[in-house]
């Protein structure tokens, strides 16, 4: 028990130093723009189908599940606003971040873990190329920027899913549906929800890189790095969300 606790705190300490190095190196040239754009493509563009499908299903299911209760209270007209608010403030950011943790964090963990085990990271180091700058900074930065974009995309697709859900039982035109959503949304609903997605993105990238970069030798450790990246990133997302909701509650 004490040994596990010690390991956990050691890991948190190492991860903090790893993250600190990111803030140190992100501003120092050379800037790996090409690799950064490549990572944006891999992390962002290639995740679009997955995020679109889950976003649509989230909106549709949320509408279908909420409708009977609202109908019971005669508040069916609140459905579009309620669905949009739930999606934008909580469900889309968390679910999308969890999907990204599964897809991106594990992918980065496995990729860097495999590079570590096959000495590719060492090869960069001995060629006087900074592997942290080339591999880690680009990936963390790409995650920090692309995850919020994916969340906004999931919000939009989720709202379309909600529209489909409403029209299964009724006949609401899209303009009216959208008007109701916009009337119930405030600008302040978007700000905290968007800010927290940057943190989600940062931690998804950072944890994936940390686990991969610190994989010990042996192919088994690649699987462990990928698995550990998903578990840690998912848990971190929930913790961050809890903190974000508390802060939002205090200020908004």
């Amino acid at each position: 028990m004490i040994f596990t606790l010690k390991n956990t705190f050691t890991e948190i300490g190492s991860a903090t130093l790893f993250a600190k190095q990111f803030f140190k190196e992100v501003f120092i040239p050379p800037y790996e723009a090409k690799e950064f754009l490549k990572q944006c493509y891999v992390i962002g563009y290639k995740s679009l189908p997955l995020v679109a499908i889950t976003g649509f299903i989230m909106g549709l299911v949320l509408t279908l599940q909420s409708r009977p209760t609202l109908v019971k209270f005669g508040a069916e007209s609140w459905l579009p606003g309620m669905v949009a608010l739930s999606l934008i403030r909580e469900i889309a950011p968390v679910i999308t971040a969890l999907i990204c943790a599964g897809k991106i964090s594990s992918g980065i963990g496995a990729e860097l873990g495999s590079m570590k085990v096959t000495e590719q990271i060492d090869a960069m180091e001995v060629s006087a190329i900074n592997p942290y700058n080339y591999l880690v900074v680009t990936r963390i930065l790409a995650c920090t920027i692309m995850v919020p974009i994916l969340v906004i995309f999931a919000d939009a697709i989720g709202i379309i899913g909600g529209y489909v859900g409403i029209n299964i039982h009724g006949d609401v035109n899209f303009y009216r549906y959208l008007t109701q959503i916009l009337q119930s949304l405030e600008f302040l609903d978007l700000i905290p929800a968007t800010i927290k997605t940057f943190f989600f993105g940062f931690f998804i990238g950072m944890i994936g890189c940390f686990k991969g970069f610190n994989a010990s030798n042996g192919t088994e450790s690649v699987g462990k790095a990928a698995n550990s990246a998903v578990v840690t990133a998912s848990l971190t997302i929930f913790i961050l969300d809890m903190v974000a909701v508390q802060i939002t509650d205090l200020f908004f």
Partner: protein
């Protein structure tokens, strides 16, 4: 042929008048709590010399050369490369030294997300930003020609055989025109013919580029072909030193066993 006791400097069989390029003194490295791999390694490599290090698996051969390039930080000792104290250099200073040292990894360590062309161009572009795309391409082709693999330029590492991967790894090492090359088991896992080809390539590079090398190997054919001098590592110290012919007739049965 000379042998030594633990932690003592081995006597030299042939005193070379050349300039020492790599000097290691009393190198110690322990992994974990009590896994002491290096217990006081002392060695000197002179300019233009090919030094082969022999030893059983786990005897610390790879650790020694990884300490030279700063991949592993030793617990104690002194490493001088080009007269610079590697262990007391800042990161940028160490990188300046690293550019002058090529390192061939046991596995080749090719970047598997990049094609052969990208693998070679990557290193070059990072260090010679002034080169045009055409100049980079020419350098890549020349480096591949040197290892006889210009046809593989568009292949991915996964499409290459073990021997080809090592040759491409060597081409990538050579593209920066290093003055020192450290070979970590260059022929391990290869068939006899390919091993000989790699060994001949090492010899060819030495003659053409006047490089200084340390070659870690278990392959005695490779050692015989490439070594100017051989050091045998045992229990974390240099146990014996001499030319191939000298060590082959050594009075120590353990040393002779490498040559049988």
């Amino acid at each position: 042929m000379i042998k030594e006791k633990e932690n003592t400097e081995p006597k030299k069989t042939k005193e070379k008048s050349k300039t020492p390029i790599i000097q290691i003194k009393d190198l110690h490295k322990t992994f974990g709590v009590d896994n002491e791999v290096l217990k006081g390694v002392n060695l000197t490599v002179n300019q233009g010399e090919d030094l082969v290090i022999l030893g059983r698996s786990g005897s610390g051969k790879s650790v020694t050369i990884k300490c030279i390039v700063g991949l592993i930080v030793p617990d104690k000792g002194e490493i001088k490369v080009f007269d610079e104290d590697v262990l007391n250099l800042t990161k940028p200073e160490l990188n300046e030294i690293r550019v002058r040292i090529g390192f061939l990894f046991q596995s080749g360590a090719l970047y598997d997300s990049m094609s052969v062309r990208e693998n070679l161009a990557f290193t070059l572009k990072k260090h010679k930003r002034e080169l045009t795309a055409e100049e980079v391409e020419n350098e890549v082709i020349e480096a591949l020609d040197n290892v006889g693999l210009s046809d593989a330029i568009d292949k991915m590492p996964s499409e290459l055989s073990g021997g080809m991967q090592k040759r491409i790894g060597l081409a990538r090492t050579l593209i920066l025109k290093p003055e020192i090359i450290l070979y970590d088991e260059p022929t391990t896992g290869l068939d006899t013919i390919t091993s000989r080809e790699i060994s001949e390539l090492i010899l060819d590079i030495k003659h053409k580029r006047k490089t200084t090398s340390i070659i870690i190997t278990h392959d005695m054919a490779c050692a015989k072909l490439t070594a100017d001098r051989i050091m045998v590592l045992k229990d974390g110290v240099i146990h014996a030193e001499g030319t191939y012919e000298e060590l082959e007739k050594d009075e120590d049965e353990w040393v002779r066993s490498f040559f049988e």
